[in-house]
């Protein structure tokens, strides 16, 4: 075991993993986290705690991770390269581990221009690839980025993101390979709607032997409405929403669109359970945490295995 986290144990045991997401509040509210955590407890194996998601100031991801831990969830602590330099990142990793955090997701981060402080200076001292490498180097070699050693290393289960849809498509599997070489233990993908392209990407990953080296969790975000689907299709960079999804939502009454979105998500989960090379799903029910239990139920993900 690299970290001994629950997520690692579940994946090691060959179970189909199920992870969720919890966005910290734009306030100091502990209650907001406890409420969301209540919906997710016992339903998912681990919960991603986002780090100033979409470049909007929120409660720090390590603090919210600790609150999630207290609430009985296993956090997957997200860290972006946008807001801190290598000193701050490494010190936060040490602190997070010391406080019981065992999973980390290493990301570049959305550009600050999209957030609520668009004038701010983006740090990007290191990039996501270098961050993955740094966390691995800390864990396996007890060394900092500068090569200096530490006596007690943070043993994190290291996650990274992948977008199977962004251009150039041919390069995507190679970049995945780079992330694995950098030290990623598991991958959580961008939200998937284009299943055909996903099948092609995972096939290429399999052909290169990558799915033997890393656990890939397919990203799923249920559409809440037709409006959301249209927004995702036209406004969110790197997102691939086929017309087929739009048309399915269009085909039902407005009140039923959320239900239809969940139905689509559940069908995807079914397919991923069968897809060779996919080790689990990562459900990003954005501000829809309370619907996660019914999605999990409907997708046949319950009960979660005990490890």
């Amino acid at each position: 075991m690299k970290s001994g986290s629950k997520l690692e144990k579940i994946l090691e045991a060959g179970h189909f993993a199920f992870t969720g997401e919890l966005g910290p509040p734009r306030s100091a509210s502990i209650e907001a986290i406890r409420t969301k955590a209540g919906h997710l407890k016992g339903v998912v194996d681990s919960v991603n705690i986002t780090d100033n998601q979409t470049a909007v100031v929120r409660m720090s991801s390590w603090a919210a991770s600790l609150l999630a831990l207290e609430a009985g969830l296993e956090p997957n602590y997200q860290m972006v390269c946008r807001d801190r330099n290598r000193l701050a990142m490494q010190s936060d990793i040490l602190g997070a581990y010391a406080m019981g955090i065992r999973n980390m997701l290493c990301l570049s981060g959305d550009h600050q221009q999209f957030g609520d402080h668009p004038q701010c200076k983006g740090v990007f001292d290191i990039d996501s690839m270098q961050l993955i490498q740094a966390v691995k180097n800390m864990r396996d070699n007890a060394a900092f980025i500068n090569g200096q050693e530490m006596d007690e290393p943070p043993r994190m289960f290291i996650g990274a993101a992948a977008n199977p849809f962004a251009e150039p498509f041919e390069w995507r599997v190679y970049r995945l390979a780079k992330k694995i070489n950098a030290g990623a233990d598991f991958i959580q993908t961008q939200c998937i709607y284009n299943m055909a392209k996903m099948r092609e990407w995972i096939k290429r990953a399999r052909d290169m032997g990558l799915t033997e080296k890393v656990y890939i969790l397919a990203g799923i975000t249920p559409m809440k409405s037709l409006g959301m689907a249209r927004y995702m299709k036209s406004k969110v960079p790197g997102m691939d929403v086929p017309d087929e999804i739009i048309n399915r939502l269009k085909g039902v009454e407005k009140k039923q669109q959320g239900k239809e979105g969940i139905a689509i998500a559940c069908e995807q989960i079914q397919e991923f359970k069968e897809m060779e090379g996919v080790a689990g799903v990562h459900l990003m029910a954005i501000e829809w945490e309370h619907r996660v239990p019914e999605i999990a139920e409907q997708a046949g993900m319950l009960p979660r295995p005990e490890v």
Partner: protein, 225 residues
């Protein structure tokens, strides 16, 4: 070259408010080429300032002077006999030139009339694009001559990120994704192996004020250290 943009007139006016005799100082090199602070721009700004003062009972006076380079003592010395006649200097040079001017004439207030923008190239007349952040450790050899520090909005060394959008950067459809371009050019040259390896964390050598002495001059300046 260094590219600059003239500040809005209102801002310049506020900066020099209260000074009665102001010398507008241009620079004949980078800022002249990018049409921000050469002799021509000096005369335009001085004319605007005079016009603005026309209706005042006691209008301020504006002189004009342009030196070849404000970042060079040899040229700044041309102003030595002139500056004494003025109570303020309004420089149209880049940030480096403005500071060197202020250093040479420490008793006279110096104000900037331009915002220094970037190190860039001339795409066409009046159209400039940034190309270098002067990070101090150049990776252009690995990236097919396209700077990821400058051209990627996140300065990624192992891109492209998931936000790349059909060849564009997520920050704007008109902004090409640097890593998409890097990939395409390396593929064309059969050199994709250059970016298969993980590029290590950068050595940001631009994090403190820097001095550079070319090796052949080291001996000459040894004594002054």
């Amino acid at each position: 070259m260094i590219v600059a943009k003239r500040k809005p007139f209102e801002e310049i006016k506020d900066l020099i408010q209260g000074y009665k005799n102001v010398l507008v100082v241009g620079c004949g090199t980078c800022v002249a080429v990018c049409l921000a602070g050469g002799a021509k721009e000096v005369s335009v700004l001085a004319a605007e300032l005079r016009l603005n003062q026309k209706s005042e009972p006691d209008p301020a006076q504006f002189g004009e002077a342009t030196v070849q380079r404000q970042c060079d003592r040899e040229f700044l010395s041309e102003l030595d006999d002139l500056v004494g006649e003025y109570d303020a200097l309004l420089s149209m040079a880049c940030g480096a030139g403005i500071q060197f001017l202020a250093e040479r004439f420490p008793d006279t207030p110096v104000f900037p009339a331009v915002d220094t923008s970037f190190i860039g190239v001339n795409q066409d007349v009046g159209w400039y694009e940034e190309r270098c952040k002067a990070c101090g450790s150049c990776v252009l050899g690995m990236t097919a001559g396209i700077c990821p520090v400058t051209m990627c909005a996140k300065s990624l060394f192992n891109g492209p990120c998931g936000g790349t959008n059909e060849g564009s950067c997520e920050i704007h459809p008109d902004q090409p994704c640097a890593w998409h371009l890097i990939y395409e050019r390396l593929a064309r040259q059969g050199r994709l192996d250059k970016i298969m390896e993980i590029c290590p964390a950068n050595d940001w050598r631009n994090q403190k004020p820097q001095t550079l002495i070319q090796p052949s001059y080291e001996e000459r300046y040894e004594a002054t250290k």
